[in-house]
């Protein structure tokens, strides 16, 4: 019996037979009360890559393109585009009737400034910058992009849901340095941010943007299609304690809890008024990241040997429990069932784990007992689970591990150090990304090899970088898939990062909430009854 069950049982016995009163919300309320997975610390969706800020971004801002459930870019703020000069000139035309929340029209020059601010922060934007000859606004509704080299993925880049997204904001705000947050939250999206009602760490409020003009035709799909709003107000309530969030949802004090924890799912599923769903088929991808600058993980053979020690089921069970519908093992570097997933190199993850062999391979690779400093996060349950299983795996693989248990804030600071482990550096940490953020070779950081310019751990691989460059210019999807397949095979060989499996984050909402969209948590389309 679990502690929570015992407490609930004991309490219920005492409460039986006493009168009940309703505390939830008044009926007919067109206010959606939502518990996001984290506090909304930063409101500017370009400065940070935090997922919670992306959700906020899709409420307040609009994007030039959206992506549908097939991961194809679809026009959103743009009416359409023309591609000229063999792909070296793109002419984008804005839709009529777009307005910012301050009443000003959305002009092409606002989009130009927004693209410039975003491009330096996003992997696909950086690729755009590398090819860009001219980005201008010849008139109020036309965005002109001239390129040195064709960039077939331009629409995909501008509509990418990978954080930070290319949200459009007024030029006066978009001219802010991308390392500094903007002073006002003014977008042209389907909801307005009510800054006056903000209580940091507790409540954020959005009101329906009555001036928003959804696209005509089509159906809403992920971030594409018409964004029709059927509720007047969205309130975010920050609840750091999962038990409190579960109680608030059960009691009807809130309508939607974005990320219920796995241990509370049985309680929520038993409640007739609550729907538990899996909104994002790309799930979350778990990773173990090496520091490639220092021993022992500067040694490719040692990294490669550790692939044989991975039991993805152990990691995923620690994260989400034994319910197999909530996780997958046998997962490579791209989310399964997405266009670039393949079985290349996966054989190393299959079959029984032979840790004796792994130890022998590590010794043969030249391991001399160097200290492995593992940064283990303790204050984020998923990361804590990954870190503990990872610690056990490294120890059993015969490595001399120092487990530094600390909070995420300390991990992100310490992983910035390029010093050797014995001088305040590190050897390995664990993290997770949404599947969307690993969906293709263009955005997938764990498979990159761009060295000191790259993600923490600074993996260097000329082969991976060359293939990635080729991927951008591949002729069609089949060619791109072939390159992604090759990249994955090399990644299993060079092991820049350890793939630890895919898990699915559930969401839970009251039955009164309907038409909740698949993909990211968005607030258009959904309805609230009763």
């Amino acid at each position: 019996m679990f502690r929570r069950d015992f407490l609930a049982g004991a309490a219920a016995a005492g409460a039986a037979g006493l009168p009940r009163f309703a505390i939830g919300q008044p009926t007919g309320s067109q206010v959606v009360r939502f518990i996001p997975h984290a506090d909304l610390g930063i409101l500017d969706p370009i400065v940070t890559t935090a997922y919670v800020t992306r959700i906020h971004g899709f409420l307040v801002y609009d994007t030039l393109y959206g992506v549908d459930a097939e991961f194809r870019p679809q026009p959103q703020m743009v009416e359409g585009h023309r591609i000229e000069e063999d792909g070296r000139r793109w002419v984008l035309t804005l839709r009529e009737g777009l307005r910012f929340h301050d009443g000003e029209r959305v002009l092409a020059r606002d989009c130009v400034a927004s693209i410039r601010r975003w491009a330096g922060r996003h992997p696909l934007g950086q690729e755009l910058n590398a090819r860009l000859a001219e980005l201008s606004a010849p008139d109020d509704r036309t965005i002109l992009i001239r390129l040195h080299r064709p960039y077939a993925l331009l629409a995909e880049a501008l509509g990418s849901p990978v954080t930070p997204c290319c949200f459009i904001m007024p030029e006066r705000l978009a001219q802010t340095d991308s390392a500094r947050p903007v002073g006002e939250i003014i977008g042209s999206g389907p909801f307005r941010f009510l800054a006056g009602e903000r209580v940091q760490g507790s409540r954020f409020v959005y009101a329906r943007n009555a001036d928003y003009v959804p696209r005509e035709g089509g159906e809403p799909s992920w971030t594409a299609g018409p964004k029709r709003v059927h509720v007047e107000r969205v309130e975010w309530h920050i609840m750091p304690d999962p038990a409190t969030a579960a109680g608030a949802l059960q009691g009807g004090e809130v309508d939607w809890w974005e990320t219920p924890t796995a241990d509370l799912l049985p309680v929520l599923r038993r409640n007739r008024n609550i729907v538990v769903a899996l909104p994002n088929p790309t799930g979350m991808m778990a990773w173990g990241r090496f520091n490639h600058l220092h021993p022992p993980f500067d040694n490719q053979r040692i990294r490669r040997a550790l692939m044989g020690a991975i039991n993805q089921a152990d990691y995923m069970t620690a994260v989400t429990g034994t319910d197999r519908s909530l996780w997958r093992d046998g997962v490579g570097f791209f989310p399964p069932e997405t266009p670039f997933a393949s079985d290349a190199g996966l054989e190393v993850l299959r079959g029984p784990r032979d840790l004796d062999r792994v130890r022998r391979e590590i010794e043969a690779a030249g391991y001399r007992g160097e200290r492995v400093v593992l940064l283990g996060t303790t204050d984020v349950p998923t990361l804590a689970a990954l870190s503990h299983v990872g610690h056990d795996m490294l120890r059993r693989a015969g490595l001399n591990v120092e487990f530094v248990a600390t909070d995420w804030g300390t991990v992100v600071a310490r992983r910035a150090s390029r010093e050797p482990p014995e001088r305040g550096g590190w050897s390995m940490f664990f993290t997770f990304w949404t599947g969307l953020d690993n969906i293709n070779p263009g955005v997938n950081q764990p498979i990159r090899g761009n060295g000191r310019d790259g993600w923490w751990g600074w993996a260097t691989s000329e082969r991976l970088e060359a293939l990635r460059a080729r991927w951008f210019d591949a002729d069609d999807l089949a060619a791109q898939q072939a390159i992604a397949r090759e990249m994955q095979a090399i990644a299993f060989e060079e092991a820049p990062t350890l793939p630890l499996g895919q898990y699915f984050q559930t969401t839970a909402h009251r039955r009164a909430i309907t038409e909740v969209q698949q993909g990211l948590p968005v607030f258009w389309s959904l309805r609230k009854s009763g």
Partner: protein
């Protein structure tokens, strides 16, 4: 007396200066980097470096400390690194829920615990005494969050008498304000009630064995008069001292209680700021707590004179 109060208030200045230096230095040497937290997991080292520079976090300790002190002297606690909101605004938004919770808990604790302690001393050795002591042991032993979850489960989820979470400002009405605070105050107050009840019992037992109590009894004074007028007044000084010390307990307990009941108070603000390394907010809140604690101690010293005329300043 007035001179004493002025002296004590002036003495808070060096105390606050030491606290300020200590907090600033501690945060400077503590591991953590707000720029890395702001940038997020997917950011590259270059992104983080740019954010760090834009926040001025790459400047020397003395420059940053000097600027901070100058701002403090001007009454400006700075701006949150994360939210871009002035720290004073963030504290102002959060102080009402925390003060409400602390005051309600204090009232509840004093109203419940002192009669319990007096009763237990009066009925020493009986089942009433043992019952009160058992309650006190339970209050000390069961963590605040367990009491909180139990109360929320019974009174919010099962009976639906009170809300599970949240806070409603006093300006929205007395009952909406109170209904959100009843469960948190009971949960937070459980330890405090236990503490005060035990101290009250112990000091009352000592006082009740004094000669003047026997004299009062011999004079035919009523039991109530003996307990509450003669004995309790003389037992008050240690009880008041414990109440004052307990305010520090309340500040610590408020962190947990505010999390369990999702109350947007200073406790949660502090925890959030620490986890993000939001230095200006941490510094502002710690200074505020230190100041409150110094003032509470002063108030307690002054209250002593009400109960014991021999105490003079």
């Amino acid at each position: 007396m007035l001179a004493y109060v002025v002296r004590r208030i002036l003495a808070t200045i060096p105390v606050m200066a030491v606290v300020a230096l200590f907090v600033f230095s501690l945060l400077y040497i503590a591991p953590g980097d707000p720029a890395a937290v702001i940038a997020g997991d997917q950011a590259t080292p270059e992104d983080v470096e740019r954010i760090r520079a834009s926040l001025g976090l790459d400047r020397p300790f003395l420059v940053r400390f000097g600027e901070w002190v100058i701002r403090i002297l001007q009454g400006d606690l700075g701006v949150s690194i994360f939210t871009n909101l002035p720290v004073t605004t963030m504290i102002a938004q959060r102080i009402e829920p925390t003060l409400s919770l602390m005051v309600l808990t204090l009232i509840l604790a004093v109203v419940v615990a002192i009669p319990m302690g007096v009763l237990a001393a009066w009925k020493q050795g009986t089942w009433i005494d043992r019952g009160v002591m058992a309650f006190a042991v339970l209050g000390f032993s069961v963590p605040v969050f367990v009491v909180g979850y139990l109360l929320a489960y019974v009174f919010a989820l099962e009976l639906e008498w009170l809300p599970v979470q949240g806070y409603t400002s006093f300006s929205a009405g007395f009952w909406p304000w109170l209904e959100n605070l009843i469960l948190p105050a009971v949960a937070l107050g459980s330890v405090y009630i236990a503490l005060i009840a035990r101290i009250t019992r112990a000091t009352m037992l000592e006082v009740l064995s004094q000669d003047y109590i026997r004299t009062a009894r011999a004079k035919g004074a009523s039991q109530g008069s003996i307990l509450f007028l003669h004995a309790l007044k003389n037992a008050a000084v240690p009880i008041v001292t414990v109440i004052g010390i307990g305010i520090a307990l309340l500040i610590g307990g408020a962190v947990v209680t505010e999390s369990v009941f999702a109350i947007p108070g200073l406790g949660r603000l502090t925890v959030d700021a620490i986890l993000r390394r939001d230095y200006p907010v941490i510094q502002g809140v710690v200074l505020l707590f230190s100041f409150i604690y110094v003032l509470v101690n002063l108030a307690i010293d002054l209250v002593y004179t009400l109960f014991d005329p021999r105490i003079r300043y």
